[in-house]
Symmetry: C2
Subunit: 246 residues, 2 copies
Amino acid sequence: MTYCVATMIDSGIVFASDSRTNAGVDYISTFRKMRVFEVAGDRILVTLNSGNLAVTQATVNHLERAIKSNIEPNLLSVRSMYEVAELIGAALREVRRRDSAFLKENHVDSSVNFIVGGQIAGEDQRLFLIYSEGNFIEATPETRYFQVGEIKYGKPIIDRIIRADTSMNDAIKSVLVSFDSTMRSNLSVGMPIDMACYSRHSLQLAQIHRFDDQDNYMQRLHKSWGEGVRAAFAELPNFEYQSDLS
Amino acid sequence: MTYCVATMIDSGIVFASDSRTNAGVDYISTFRKMRVFEVAGDRILVTLNSGNLAVTQATVNHLERAIKSNIEPNLLSVRSMYEVAELIGAALREVRRRDSAFLKENHVDSSVNFIVGGQIAGEDQRLFLIYSEGNFIEATPETRYFQVGEIKYGKPIIDRIIRADTSMNDAIKSVLVSFDSTMRSNLSVGMPIDMACYSRHSLQLAQIHRFDDQDNYMQRLHKSWGEGVRAAFAELPNFEYQSDLS
């Protein structure tokens, strides 16, 4: 299982992904689900992905080969994030066209999702969610984040916190709490977590960090959040429970 | 969509269900998803259900007809909760055997889940989850609760709070917070909420309560929880974010 999230605020975008791949009952590996394409001063693109690993890797390989072979258009040549989303969608369609008949024969699910966000010089930061079918949607002021994979456990805290004017620090914390909640409820989402922070208009990646299961900050966050939630629970008003009612 | 939960603690069982049925895009109705079978001093059984409404209603109808017609065995004649779960599973299999071929023709999902819990004189309180296929599992000291329907948003708070020695008051509050979180994230789970509280060994229902969207206690709970979670978030340690890193 996978969990990835990207939240866009006025001051930038926070991307994060777990790195666990469950390729079978007793075979759990870690593979990076985040990729960064950067040309400092011109563009920064970050992709996150969930779903069939062979399909996502083939799609990324397709995109990288176009860059290396200078096949136009490619992720480093297009002038808008919209075209970036189109390129990923087209590569995904190509891979699924090639593979999905074979996968279907063995009832293997070939569906995948990509999140891609960042900024290209000449336009503002943008964030997209690309579906298995290759079509996509863009984040708006009303929908400032996208999640893929095991999304439900970690959704409530993002809903509560993320607004246009949320600080980068608070956006980072909400994303990491979102991971903490998800990993607590679904053991197949696991450390390490990759996090990338982009500052709007910087056109370079501000920070990339890998949190492993020994990470001191994640342990403090986990403890503080658990204590805070228990304190919030202890403060709740009691319901008038009458155990002797007959 | 539906959300139902039942949690068993040493002092009793708390059952709760939403009552929204979404039978189509623009047709949302409320139907009770909770049923109580009570013979004071002998037994108390509470059922909750999710899934295809026609199938659940037919199953319950089947069980009620057996009681009314004195067909043995029935829910009021068997001497163990295990047999209660068997009866529900058998009724469910009968209904699906009759209807599912017709439903499949139109790609209608005929799956349903039942939760049933309570106590019959002569044995302890017990709690079961019955699957669509008519088989079932029983709650254990390690798994003290069952949820059906839209289960993920409301799971974390139950995981945090429910232990064997959790008080009835805290069990009630965790169940209601669980509903609050679910309704916040999934609009198709909605008020009113039906809640039934059973005190172990009482062999009668202690309290049944319907919370509608004007309910004063639910409004206070919602406000207090939101404030508490925001306070817990504000207390989290900051991540060392360096926006000028290059």
